[in-house]
């Protein structure tokens, strides 16, 4: 399954370089080791851990998942082991290998973000942090941080003071202007922005008249959200200068190329990993073939390469 090493798939996101543009999305790759038996972590340029909070979080009541073909609704509620256990027991195992370990951090108040990052600074080898300020499934904190650009900027700035490591902010599509969130992140000193987190969605059982998730609404992910995600990445590409990590419904190499064309420098793969934990290896191989076939010298030339000149836009031939 391991792809041949040429052409080179590496990309650079400011101070972070990745051997390929494929990252596992937070919440879809656990703490980093769970898939080790069945998938080579090194097929990933990097991975974002499940979001880590200060204290352990138990998450929301079940049921927490429901399929809405061909997408997924979840209401996990950031269930996680907390930073202490993560830093001591898990982190040392995930900072080995070619694949960069990026820790997602999610908290209820600003100070906790600083504290969690401060604690993680002691773990060698962590490549950076993704500040999850966009989870729709928790009552306190979560998405609220992202909806207010002033808070976003302050939070990023405060974390920036605690670390020299690479920081990206994970943004929500559930707001009027995601580019405000991106601009605020940039102003606060983020090295990159990650988008999109899940869309707020809902499913109901017509017969029992009950919601399919205990929290009633949840986060919508998977292939159906790709068109929304592409539009958000394009919007943010036109607003900020820092690199963008595209997320939402990616299932194959074409999706990756599309996200890069509209402005992403790298991408994250989420829900699709549950179906195939080996997908990144497959996509990396396919991307190499694409580069050979299309004569693409470096993936970075794709980023933001959308052709928008109307003159030559021919839809369908007659």
């Amino acid at each position: 399954m391991t792809a041949t090493a040429s052409p080179d798939l590496s990309v650079i996101l400011g101070s972070l370089s990745l051997h390929n543009p494929l990252l596992a999305a937070s919440g879809c790759f656990g703490y980093g080791t769970e898939y080790d038996d069945v998938a080579d972590r090194d097929n990933l340029g990097g991975f974002i851990t499940k979001s880590i909070s200060l204290a352990p979080w138990k998450g929301n009541d079940p049921p927490r998942l429901t399929e809405v073909s061909p997408g997924l609704l979840n209401s996990i509620g950031l269930a996680n082991m907390g930073v202490e256990k993560f830093a001591n027991e898990v982190a040392p195992q995930i900072v080995t290998g070619k694949s960069k370990a990026i820790v997602s951090v999610a908290c209820k108040v600003m100070e906790e973000y600083e504290e969690v990052v401060a604690l993680l600074e002691d773990v060698e080898g962590i490549a950076g942090y993704e500040l999850n300020i966009s989870c729709p499934n928790v009552k306190e904190g979560g998405m609220a941080f992202c909806l207010n650009p002033n808070i976003t900027e302050e939070l990023v700035a405060r974390v920036r003071k605690r670390t020299n490591r690479w920081i990206t902010t994970k943004l929500t599509p559930n707001m009027t202007s995601v580019s405000q969130g991106a601009l605020a992140s940039e102003a606060g000193g983020a090295d990159a922005v990650s988008l999109i987190n899940t869309l707020v969605g809902m499913a109901v059982d017509w017969k029992s008249r009950r919601p399919k998730l205990a929290t009633i609404t949840g986060g919508y992910s998977g292939p159906p959200i790709k068109p929304v995600a592409l539009a958000k990445v394009w919007e943010v590409w036109n607003a900020v200068k820092i690199p963008i990590i595209g997320i939402g419904g990616i299932t194959n190499w074409k999706d990756v190329v599309e996200f890069m064309i509209v402005g992403a420098s790298a991408v994250q793969i989420g829900t699709a990993l549950y179906a195939d934990p080996n997908l990144p290896g497959q996509i990396a191989a396919d991307l190499r073939e694409y580069m050979r076939n299309e004569g693409v010298g470096s993936l970075s030339e794709l980023t933001g390469s959308l052709k928008t000149d109307r003159g030559a836009m021919v839809g369908v031939p007659a």
């Binding site: 996990i76 269930a79 990993l273 549950y274 080996n278």
Partner: protein
């Protein structure tokens, strides 16, 4: 050790209306699995269904394993179209197996409907190890028995059917309680292990009626909607007492849990 294995379908047939049995050649998973574990099945190469579907590992014979399922939706329906010779991608074996109590004096297995397959595997495992075991199955009628009409097990296990239909008429909890009473009478209840899998109605009836505290062990295998199947997504939580949080994960902490500790979802 877990595997992602392209298992070759050996046979696939409808054993009762809407209930199917498939045998697959899956050497790695067969070598690694124990009763109570499950596989996470990639039903189709397309995006429909998006997620894998969890199915208990039923019988394991050599390098072949059996899956038995009822058609309830898209995924289980698509599996009925799979022809021998093709491969299905399996992720497994997953989850914690039943505690295989070798030191018990007796083992009472209680299955309800499609809860039977993992217990059949456990039953055969105990038989192979020459350990005394009884397998009870509760169904509403013959059409619900997840065993083919020509399956030798059909005459070996204790079947209770709500409609009778040639079997003991009633609820499966009745013969189970009788057996436990008999075991109590002959003083071996404390060395008896009970294993169960079935709908919440059955689980709850067992919780209410059996003398838990006097048994050596009482386990239940649960179901829950699954994403990853390996503890990554935190999606398959169920409410189980006795952990750090009110929740445990069916895919990795379970599917087997102490019978007394589990709660139906939403009834915390």
């Amino acid at each position: 050790m877990k595997y992602l294995e392209d298992a070759v379908v050996v046979s696939n047939r409808e054993i009762r209306p809407g209930i199917w049995s498939m045998w697959l050649r899956s050497p790695q998973i067969c070598a690694a699995t124990l009763p109570g574990q499950f596989v996470h099945v990639k039903v189709d190469a397309s995006l429909t269904p998006l997620l894998r579907r969890p199915l208990s590992i039923g019988r394991v014979h050599g390098d072949q394993l059996e899956l038995v399922w009822r058609v309830v939706g898209t995924g289980t329906d698509m599996l009925t179209d799979v022809r021998p010779g093709v491969t299905l991608n399996l992720l497994g074996p997953l989850g914690q197996p039943f505690t295989r109590e070798v030191n018990a004096s007796h083992r009472v297995l209680v299955g309800g409907g499609l809860g039977l397959p993992p217990l059949v595997y456990l039953y055969e495992w105990f038989r192979e190890h020459d350990l005394p075991v009884t397998l009870h199955l509760g169904v509403s009628g013959r059409a619900d028995i997840p065993l083919a009409e020509d399956d030798p097990l059909l005459n070996e296990i204790e079947i209770t059917a709500e409609n009778g239909e040639g079997f003991r008429k009633g609820l499966v909890t009745e013969p189970v309680l009788e057996q436990l009473q008999a075991l109590e009478t002959d003083g071996s209840l404390g060395s008896t292990a009970l294993y169960s899998c079935g709908p919440w109605g059955l689980v709850n009836a067992l919780q209410r009626t059996i003398p838990h505290s006097q048994l050596k062990l009482a386990e239940v295998s649960l179901e829950q909607q699954m994403g990853c199947g390996v503890g990554v997504c935190q999606g398959c939580a169920v409410i189980v007492e006795g952990g750090d949080t009110p929740y445990q994960l069916v895919c990795s902490d379970g599917p087997v849990f102490p019978l007394a500790a589990v709660h139906p979802p939403g009834v915390a």
